[in-house]
């Protein structure tokens, strides 16, 4: 049975294909269209999935959209009505936006793929999140919690899932919190207030929080009160996201927290103003964590289960995830590699397979590598055409050479195998570097990633060595499999792991099992043999504002535009001509053709 899952139209659209109960491909549209956060109908992603599986659209048994468009429209219309007459500006835009494309999903899918309407199905948004979290996790029974900004109406839901002995699967949602009361919107509002991009830069708020103290928690708690039944409600006097499109916070919010940050001014943490912004970030982070932990604790008591599956965009908050593991009572916390809306494509397809069609449960491979493959020979050809040095090496020689490069302080662009699904680079499209000094961190920030100095870099470590360098609680290795948790670096190693140790002594570590990415694991071992520390800095292979690279040519063009020293694609290793030669050649080229 071939089932295609689609998420689209809001942010980060994606497609995923499940064949006979097992995902065979999943990819975000942005990785193919090269537009970051591409929300358009994911035609390229769909084509890629079908091509990878070698099937035609008419061989699809079902196409599942990740939410119910009319229910979403109902929420948009109702909110406009509730905010009457203040919503008069937002109303025409919202209606044109929804009625233009977003509510006609069945027709769009049908016309784009030529699939009959009866084959097109719809899951609920949080149902998709729940399925993506539970059905990809190696657990038989688990509590499920999903939290994001908003789906149709739900913003947070709790429930449980079970794989029965007879092969059937059950996912239940007990209860939900509904829009406009939303932890995701609360966090996004602070993201906007702090001058970052909503739906994109929330992780910057989390990074900034480590520089601040939660001195404004009382003020944040004015914005979100706990209800007697253990849920929460936002005080809407401080928000405008529910009735205007212009901004998400109100004037009262600004009165409470002070003037907003100018997004074009860097945050200077040595000034009182910069510290105030960091304190705001720390305070909302604290309140978010407290709220999640309390809800999860009740869920644990209610279900008595040992495992928790987390889904939704809020599950990208690694600091909160680590606190959930430590304080909620659950022994293991599972976060899929793509807990956000893109991951709903895979969730919707799996839900359809297991629950709608009632197909027997199948184990889903426990890795994030579901995208297109990189072609090392293509990289070699490109580099040779441009007179860069390219060599194709056997695995062992390549690993040794790259380990030597890393020891020499070179920064390596690393592409191998299938592209990751989800926002994290987990070893197939990564920039790797030695993790030991702050100079390396600053070099990466200033010369390669072109990003704010306060943002930390993540490490990757083999599973056997993980607890030696990082203070992982029981269950920590699992949470760190897809870089979903932030844990302390052991104090004795912090001075030797400066580039990946955040200001508060933590790191968003990836714990690597050999089976998941064997070549990267071998590289870590080789690096460990040379330096005594088998840890590497691992950051996504992209530049600021761009999606993670997919094909060899994208890695190559990124390599040429920044100061990455060595590029690896499959078995090909490329180094640049010296920068002086390259500059002269570029000037000569410009002169010649101009």
């Amino acid at each position: 049975m071939n089932i295609l899952g689609i998420s689209a139209h809001y942010h980060d659209s994606a497609a995923a294909l499940v064949v006979d109960g097992v995902p065979v491909c999943a990819v975000q549209e942005e990785r193919l269209s090269r537009h970051k956060g591409d929300a358009t109908f994911p035609m390229l992603a769909i084509e890629s999935c079908l091509q990878q599986a070698g099937i035609e659209p008419n061989q699809l048994d079902a196409v599942v959209f990740y939410e119910r468009p009319m229910l979403k429209f109902d929420r948009i219309l109702t909110c406009a009505l509730r905010a009457f007459p203040r919503s008069w500006r937002a109303f025409p835009t919202a209606m044109k936006n929804s009625l233009g494309e977003k509510v006609w999903v069945r027709g769009i899918i049908s016309s784009q793929l030529g699939v009959p309407g009866r084959k097109i199905l719809f899951t609920e948004h949080h149902q998709s999140h729940a399925a993506a979290a539970f059905l990809t996790a190696p657990t038989r029974r688990a509590a499920i919690m999903t939290a994001d900004a908003v789906g149709e109406w739900a913003t947070l839901s709790v429930g449980d899932g079970e794989r029965m002995l007879n092969g059937s699967t059950r996912i239940r949602r007990f209860r939900e919190i509904r829009f406009p009361h939303s932890l995701g919107m609360l966090y996004s509002t602070f993201t906007a207030y702090l001058g970052f991009k909503v739906n994109e830069d929330e992780y910057k708020v989390m990074g900034l929080a480590a520089y601040g103290r939660p001195t404004l928690v009382d003020q944040v708690r004015k914005l979100i009160r706990r209800t007697p039944d253990g849920a929460f409600a936002l005080d809407l006097n401080y928000f405008e996201f529910h009735n205007t499109a212009e901004r998400s916070y109100s004037s009262r919010f600004v009165e409470l927290f002070g003037p907003t940050r100018n997004p074009y001014e860097p945050i200077d943490l040595d000034t009182a103003e910069g510290q105030r912004f960091a304190d705001c970030a720390a305070s909302v982070q604290r309140v978010l964590e407290d709220t999640l932990v309390e809800i999860a604790r009740v869920l644990h008591q209610e279900t008595g289960l040992q495992d928790l599956c987390l889904g939704g965009g809020v599950a990208l908050n690694g600091v909160a995830n680590a606190r959930l593991l430590a304080e909620s009572g659950f022994e293991r916390v599972f976060v899929p590699p793509a807990p956000g809306d893109a991951g709903c494509a895979i969730g919707a397809a799996l839900y359809c397979d297991r629950i709608h069609f009632g197909n027997p449960d199948r184990d889903v491979p426990d890795h994030p590598f579901w995208g297109p493959w990189v072609d090392g020979s293509e990289l070699a050809r490109l580099a040779r055409e441009d007179s860069h040095f390219a060599v194709e090496l056997q695995d062992g020689a390549l690993i040794d050479q790259i380990a030597d490069d890393l020891v020499a302080g070179h920064i390596v662009g690393w592409m191998e195998g299938a592209l990751e699904f989800g926002p994290r680079a987990l070893g197939h499209r990564s920039i790797l570097a030695a993790p030991h000094t702050t100079e390396m961190r600053d070099r990466l920030n200033h010369e390669i990633k072109y990003r704010e100095a306060f943002r930390p870099f993540a490490p990757v470590v083999p599973i056997d060595a993980a607890t030696h360098y990082f203070d992982l609680p029981p269950g920590g290795k699992r949470l760190a499999r897809f870089m979903s948790g932030v844990f302390p670096v052991r104090p004795e190693w912090r001075s030797r792991l400066e580039a990946i140790t955040h200001v508060d002594g933590t790191a968003r570590v990836q714990v690597l099992e050999p089976a998941m990415a064997p070549r990267l694991h071998a590289l870590l071992e080789a690096y460990g043999q040379r330096t005594g520390i088998p840890v590497l800095l691992n950051t996504s292979f992209n530049l600021a504002g761009e999606p993670i690279v997919n094909r060899a040519v994208e890695g190559y063009s990124t390599f040429l535009r920044c100061k990455i020293d060595v590029l690896v694609g499959g078995g090909t290793r490329v180094i640049k001509r010296t920068s002086a030669t390259a500059k002269t050649e570029a000037a000569k080229l410009k002169e010649e053709v101009a």
Binding site: M70, L71, P85, M95, R551
Partner: protein
């Protein structure tokens, strides 16, 4: 350049239309707040343009074009940074709050202006012709912007620097077009011109349709919605806060869109 081909050299001279609009541009750029907004917008446009040209570098099979596109893209990214930095510097001293209002975006477009670029699927010839005309139009406008910026020498210097690059971009796109398609390069240029005109028409038409749609929806909002709004507000008041129980079987049917 192809043998025997004589091509006009690009020149730094605004078109008659842009010269005619010089007083309008002078007025638009005279206000610091508007200037900041426009520079920020230009910064975004240049960066977006850089991404498109980078994509062109990634999809072309011609190694020389790949290198040139890459240089071009790097220039565009740098222009984006120049515009943003200049806007940030002005913002620091102006106490502007980046409020929305009339900024004359349509009258004073940025680098690639309002042109829409679909890189994947474009041939090298179409791409080069498109880029040449876009750069030419941008150079013409930027010349006017530079000339009206008599009282802000630093912003003027930014345009000056960018104009130098635009000259190179105009030049290489034309010579490469002649190299790639020696016999029919003029036809490609005309095709690109017509395509720009068609896109301009589509933009105008969709813009007008958008305005008309907004107008009609706003009327409907005030005429038909008040009663429903009253009902919705009453229902909202009665809605309990906190948890809402999910009834069993609520999401069971996957056929429904609601």
């Amino acid at each position: 350049m192809a043998a025997g081909m004589v091509l006009a050299r690009p020149h730094e001279r605004p078109t008659a239309f842009d010269r005619m609009l010089a007083p309008v541009h002078r007025w638009i750029w005279s206000d610091t707040d508007r200037r900041i907004q426009k520079l920020l917008r230009f910064g975004e446009t240049e960066t977006d343009g850089g991404r498109d040209i980078l994509r062109a570098a990634e999809v072309t099979s011609d190694p020389l074009l790949r290198r040139l596109y890459l240089e071009h893209a790097i220039d565009e990214f740098r222009h984006g940074v120049l515009f943003r930095h200049r806007a940030a510097a002005l913002l620091k001293v102006s106490a502007s709050h980046l409020n929305s209002g009339f900024h004359g975006d349509w009258l004073a477009p940025g680098g690639h202006g309002l042109d829409d670029l679909q890189v994947d699927g474009e041939s090298d010839c179409d791409m080069l012709a498109f880029l040449h005309l876009s750069e030419k139009a941008a150079a013409s406008r930027f010349t006017v912007y530079r000339d009206v910026m008599q009282n802000d020498l630093l912003t003027r210097a930014v345009f000056e620097e960018i104009l130098r690059d635009e000259m190179f971009h105009m030049g290489y796109t034309l010579t490469q077009l002649a190299r790639v398609e020696p016999r029919r390069h003029k036809r490609h240029l005309w095709h690109a011109r017509l395509s720009r005109l068609w896109k301009a028409y589509l933009r105008l038409a969709s813009g007008l349709a958008g305005i008309l749609g907004s107008f009609l929806l706003t009327i409907q909002y005030f005429v038909f919605l008040p009663a429903f709004a009253w009902l919705a507000k009453r229902a909202a008041r009665q809605e309990p806060s906190g948890w809402t129980t999910v009834s069993p079987g609520r999401g069971d049917s996957l056929d429904r869109q609601y």
